[in-house]
């Protein structure tokens, strides 16, 4: 967990964040503060948050506190990171089966910075889905199990 990143603890706060962050990419990390992979990810997010302050706003969300969102985004693995721009959910093709969120941690800070930049540029051009610049080797692999959709 990082003491430098703000945390959102209720559905109302998350709604507020989504609706109010304007002209910047909104990064919501869904996870738990004491999970090791979450800690890794939070570290990267905290270190890059200042450099990306003009392009992105980063918040941490505990999955236990917002069950509505956990169910809506079908978050089965933590950490999962969801991106928004001007209230619109941004989808990114990482080469993994789920484009709606990024599961796991990033390998380097530069990967995260590149991803934010690609999302920002895509959003400025009006794209709702962009292709991730991260090497598929560095994207964590997981099994996506659908349950009768």
């Amino acid at each position: 967990m990082s003491f430098l990143l703000s945390k959102l603890t209720s559905k109302k706060e998350v709604d507020q964040a989504i609706k109010s962050v304007a002209e910047k990419v909104l990064v919501l990390r869904f996870g738990k503060d004491n999970d090791p992979v979450c800690l890794q990810l939070d570290d990267i997010l905290a270190k890059t948050s200042h450099d990306l302050s003009k392009m992105a706003a980063i918040y941490l969300v505990d999955v236990n506190k917002v069950p509505v969102y956990t169910q809506y985004f079908d978050i089965s693995y933590i950490p999962s990171t969801v991106f928004f721009f001007n209230g619109q959910h941004m989808k990114v093709d990482y080469g993994s089966p789920d484009h709606t969120k990024f599961v796991g941690s990033f390998k380097t800070k530069q990967d995260f910075i590149d991803l934010i930049e690609v999302i920002y540029r895509g959003a400025m051009r009006g794209k709702l889905i962009v292709r991730s610049p991260i090497d598929p080797k560095n994207v964590p692999k997981y099994d996506l199990l659908y349950q009768g959709i």
Partner: protein
């Protein structure tokens, strides 16, 4: 004479069997037999050197029409994942039924007896084909084995280098973490035995991917799983359900307070963006709309009939405007704007 129906030309001849010797019938025979002959020639080449290839669904399910037996026959022989090219054709042509049918066809259609032999595969030819086929199969198997062995050695190398790296990383770490590492070792060991059974194409990419992944993503298979998100009737992002931040159940009142000014801000932002598109060196581009102008911006305070110094009328004006403001505050009206 009587009527005679020729199935090859698909016409009824009023001259009876005489039709069979006519030039049109013979020409048709030649054409049709020529087409079949081309296929048979290709197959004959296989008698001496049989070719075994990997089975491909679209390619190797082809059928050919055998004239004599009047049925479609498989051209290639496939079994499991391998195909013998033109095996089906050879097998069919060597069979006894086909020989009988061929004889019948030749007699009925009065075709050229000399070329009949080319459409039959003699038993000796078939035996030769079978022996060359056995040789080809052996050679294919050997090749497969070689490739698999190569893959296995590559995997072993990769595994070796990975273990070296892990050992190097392990040294500074404490003993408690050692049990985690050993469990991580056992899973790739199990995986490797499965891999050797699968075909070589799947081996390639998975073998290459193992090393870089396991180097830094030790926690990969330790990505915490927090259970399937069961939302029975509600739907989620994959099904395109309504997102939670757009749902407006209990928060109407509070949200109204917040949305009010932000909507105005949004409109202002839109205006500003439109202004950005205008040329930057137009007149009044740096006009500051937010600066407040006092009431005394005009040099004259409107005292036409006054005599005396300007500052006196200025005093008068200020005194009067001070009173007005006070009175207007009491009534709650907004002062008239003097801008623009």
């Amino acid at each position: 004479m009587g009527l005679f129906y020729c199935p090859l030309c698909r016409l009824t001849a009023f001259t009876g069997r005489r039709h069979l010797y006519s030039s049109s019938h013979q020409q048709r025979l030649r054409e049709v037999l020529g087409r079949l002959q081309a296929k048979v020639q290709l197959a004959r080449k296989m008698i001496k050197n049989a070719v075994v290839v990997k089975y491909e669904v679209g390619e190797h399910e082809q059928l050919f029409w055998c004239l004599c037996c009047k049925q479609e026959v498989k051209r290639h022989l496939s079994h499991g994942s391998l195909t013998v090219l033109h095996g089906g054709l050879l097998q069919h042509m060597a069979s006894l039924e086909h020989k009988k049918e061929a004889n019948k066809f030749w007699w009925e259609n009065k075709a050229d007896a000399k070329i009949k032999q080319q459409f039959l595969i003699s038993p000796e030819d078939y035996e030769r084909f079978k022996s060359s086929l056995v040789k080809a199969l052996d050679a294919y198997e050997e090749k497969e084995d070689e490739v698999i062995k190569e893959m296995a050695s590559h995997i072993r190398e990769v595994e070796q280098s990975r273990q070296e790296v892990l050992h190097a990383v392990l040294e500074p770490q404490t003993g408690t973490e050692f049990c985690d590492e050993s469990s991580a070792f056992s899973t790739p060991g199990g995986r490797k035995s499965d891999i050797t059974i699968i075909t070589e194409e799947q081996l390639g990419p998975s073998a290459i991917q193992i090393t870089p992944d396991l180097d830094w993503m030790e926690g990969n298979h330790a990505l915490t799983f927090i259970g399937h998100q069961e939302s029975e009737g509600k739907g989620n992002v994959h099904t395109g359900a309504k997102p939670p931040w757009l749902m407006q159940d209990e928060e109407e009142f509070e949200s109204k307070q917040q949305i009010g000014p932000s909507y105005e801000e949004f409109l202002k932002e839109k205006e500003k963006q439109k202004l950005k598109k205008l040329p930057a060196d137009r007149v009044g581009a740096n006009f500051d709309h937010t600066s407040q102008t006092g009431e005394g911006w005009l040099p004259s305070f409107g005292r036409v009939w006054n005599q005396g110094r300007r500052w006196q009328s200025r005093h008068q004006f200020k005194a009067e405007s001070g009173k007005e403001r006070v009175s207007q505050r009491k009534t709650g009206k907004r002062p008239k704007s003097e801008l623009q």
